[in-house]
């Protein structure tokens, strides 16, 4: 049961042609240590184990985050000796002890290999995970549809203007005006499509603002601790207890904003970053003491890099949840405020459409005009639903167990219900909005 069946020879620096599929390397059966654990006393030849004279026992593969994921463990060149001859940090090429500090990587990837690997890891695997889950699939489809509507759709559909068609044509009645027309004869579908881009901008700006500010604040506060922490947390606590929508209304009025969607998006989420900051901070507090973080610190890696590559990836679930939650809040909030007339009038806007339908044509009590009210409502609901489902699906992307399963391209047949329904973060009661 020699695990050393690797064909590559040479100096141990395997060339691309000879390297076998990296993923096979992780097969447990090849590892002498596991064989030893299983009870095979001969798996590891104590005499063959070398090191730098430290007399340590059987080597074991590196376990830190810096291990050679996907890389072929080195093989012995000429002697063909088992790759069990490992010591922490690398193997020798010639079988003689080499200082760790001079150790060169025995394995290297070519450029295209690296890219392919990256692609596989970062894009294909998550995509596959997402596609598996019907909820996430639906979410992706919906969000993509809206994105298309906001970009390509503008080219396909005529610009809304009065008297495009007869007044108050019902929905689904004619092919020319699939969603009907308003009391001025404007095509409802055109209005909905043309209102999409600015809504998308609003959503993005609001969600990005929240996420960036919240994450930054939370991580800094959690990581630094001490005075910075308490100051930042006090600020965010205060912001958190100020009611969001009334604050937005007051600011929108007092600041006489002109209607720039980016500004509006930020205004609606102006105090939402505080909640995220809090959650992130507590996560960071626990992560701060993780081994690998400590290891990075010891290695002298700079703080930003530590935060960036060690801590933030673990926060991704919270971040995505919050991103989607804020996106939803922006949709609901902006449509609501436009409906009330608090935000400056804009002729192509879902909320303004609803307002016009109710106030100009009495849509809530007039079946003839009801479609004018219903269409923008449905648009909002579907978009929010899509975002929510996408978030739930995305949650699984960050679930390491699910990722690992997919990393081996093993199709999981069953729907993974293990996370017990939607992530908690999306399901906070929304009360009125």
């Amino acid at each position: 049961m020699s695990p050393t069946d690797e064909p590559s020879g040479g100096s141990g620096r395997s060339s691309s042609a000879e390297r076998s599929d990296p993923r096979d390397r992780d097969d447990a059966a090849d590892d002498p240590a596991f064989a030893a654990i299983d009870g095979d006393d001969d798996a590891i030849d104590p005499d063959a184990v070398t090191g730098t004279g430290d007399g340590s026992g059987p080597a074991r593969p590196a376990v830190s985050g810096h291990d050679h994921s996907g890389r072929a463990p080195a093989v012995d060149a000429g002697s063909g000796r088992p790759s069990e001859l490992r010591s922490d940090g690398g193997t020798r090429s010639t079988g003689e002890p080499v200082s760790e500090f001079e150790q060169m990587a025995d394995v290297s990837l070519s450029e295209s290999e690296r890219r392919r690997q990256w692609f596989d890891e970062k894009i294909l695997a998550p995509a596959r995970i997402v596609w598996d889950d019907w909820r996430a699939r639906f979410g992706v489809v919906v969000v993509t549809f809206y994105l298309l509507m906001g970009t390509v759709g503008l080219q396909l559909v005529a610009e809304p203007s009065p008297n495009q068609g007869p007044l108050l044509v019902g929905a689904f009645r004619s092919l020319q005006y699939p969603l009907g027309t308003t009391a001025s004869g404007t095509d409802i579908m055109s209005q909905i499509v043309y209102a999409t881009p600015s809504m998308l901008i609003m959503i993005t700006s609001g969600a990005v603002f929240t996420v960036v500010l919240g994450t930054a604040t939370g991580t800094v506060a959690g990581y630094k601790g001490g005075r910075t922490d308490s100051v930042l947390m006090t600020i965010s606590d205060v912001m958190m207890t100020i009611p969001g929508l009334p604050l937005t209304i007051v600011l929108a009025t007092a600041l006489s904003i002109k209607g720039n969607p980016v500004v509006i998006g930020i205004l609606i989420t102006v105090n939402a970053w505080a909640g995220l900051a809090r959650a992130i901070r507590s996560q960071v507090l626990t992560l701060r003491d993780a081994e690998y973080v400590e290891a990075s610190r010891i290695m002298g890696i700079g703080t930003p890099k530590i935060i960036g590559s060690d801590i933030i990836p673990n926060l991704m679930p919270y971040i995505t949840m919050n991103f989607v939650r804020q996106a939803r809040a922006v949709i609901f909030g902006s449509v609501g405020l436009y409906f009330l007339g608090v935000l400056p009038y804009n002729s192509v806007n879902w909320g303004v459409m609803m307002n016009a339908a109710v106030n100009r044509a009495g849509a809530t009590s007039s079946p003839a005009a009801f479609h004018w009210l219903l269409m923008p409502m449905l648009t909002i609901i579907v978009l929010a639903l899509g975002l929510t489902l996408l978030a739930q699906g995305a949650d699984r992307v960050f679930n390491p167990r699910v990722r690992a399963r997919h990393a081996k391209t093993v199709e999981s047949g069953d729907d993974d219900e293990g996370d017990g329904g939607p992530g908690g973060a999306t399901s906070a009661a929304t009360g009125g909005i």
Binding site: D237, T241, V250, T253, T364, E417
Partner: protein
């Protein structure tokens, strides 16, 4: 104890910040009630009232700030707020407190009922769903909950108005209660009328809220159901009922408590829009009126009061969390929100 003090201190700080911000906004920003007044007068007087006359009237009517240094004004403002004097509403010509004061209980009535309803229905539903995990009931409810959670409250409100209000005339579409009835708390007709008028606003807010709670409870319950201590409890021979309530429910609800605090916040905001749809004279309703009229004192008063109500609610929730969750004694180690 010190945590309690710290928490209270924080609440006071929040209110202080909000009041200061409102001072800044009122005093330092241009425009304001003059514009609305001018607009009203133009619309009323048409062409026959000249603009000079309008300006004269406006100057006579509005309380323009006196020429005192700003910090004096600030201190005066703060002192006034502490005594409950939120200034004079420019539009209603009455103290802000007397315009909004009577409206507060109505808003609290709506929001508290909605929150309560959403929470209880949601939690119960979630528990049942967890119990029947995987069944059609579970899947169906999850779907319904998801869709409702993706609907804003005002959309539901409009649909209710359209169908329950106008089409089938089950509920009245506006107002707090039927004005022909004598408004006394011991008058059953009055109470019934209040409930009828409040039914749709409360329902709108509750309907979009319970889904989230249900799904959350479901998730938590499923997780809890797999815990070891439950197995131990069962082995100990405790009754199912006791297990369900004291072990499962309690542990499942606990993490949602912070969500409740967030919900207090959002429900006040949502109430603003809902009150306007139903022309229900609560604080949110007056807030929007104040905004249309550019009546800054009234607007700020409304905003401060909403914030104070919310701060009180959250502080109570925060302080009682320690009582609910024995692990969280000091609060410092507790992860809030």
């Amino acid at each position: 104890m010190s945590y309690v003090l710290k928490r209270l201190g924080q609440s006071v700080l929040t209110v202080f910040v909000v009041v200061s911000a409102s001072f800044a906004l009122i005093r330092l920003l241009p425009g304001g009630p003059l514009d609305y007044l001018r607009a009203q007068m133009i619309q009323q007087g048409g062409s026959s009232m000249t603009m000079a006359e309008i300006n004269q009237r406006i100057a006579a009517q509005t309380n323009i700030a006196v020429n005192e240094p700003i910090y004096v004004q600030y201190l005066d403002y703060m002192a006034a707020i502490l005594t409950g004097d939120f200034g004079q509403s420019i539009w209603y010509e009455e103290p802000v407190a007397s315009v909004i004061g009577p409206a507060i209980p109505w808003t609290v009535f709506l929001t508290a009922s909605a929150l309560f309803l959403a929470f209880t229905v949601g939690v119960s539903l979630g528990a049942v769903m967890a119990y029947k995990e995987g069944s059609r009931f579970d899947l169906g409810s999850t779907g319904v909950g998801l869709v409702l959670n993706s609907t804003p409250g005002y959309v539901v409100a409009l649909l209710f108005v359209a169908y329950l209000g106008y089409r089938y005339q089950i509920f009245p579409t506006g107002g707090r209660y039927d004005s022909a009835i004598d408004p006394a708390l011991d008058n059953p007709a009055f109470l019934v009328s209040v409930l009828k008028h409040g039914a749709m606003p409360i329902a709108s807010m509750a309907v979009v809220g319970f889904g989230g709670w249900a799904l959350s409870m479901r998730g938590n319950s499923i997780r809890v159901l797999g815990e070891d201590y439950l197995r131990v409890a069962r082995l100990r021979g405790l009754s199912t009922r006791r297990i369900a309530l004291r072990y499962v429910a309690r542990n499942a609800i606990l993490p949602m408590y912070t969500g409740l605090m967030i919900a207090i916040g959002t429900v006040f905001g949502g109430a603003v829009i809902i009150e306007n749809i139903f022309a229900y004279p609560g604080v949110g309703f007056y807030l929007i009126r104040a905004i249309n009229a550019r009546d800054y004192p009234l607007m700020m008063g409304g905003f401060i009061l909403i914030t104070v109500a919310m701060v009180i609610g959250i502080t109570i929730a925060d302080l009682t969390y320690g009582w609910l969750d024995p692990r969280a004694k000091g609060g410092g180690s507790r992860e809030s929100y």
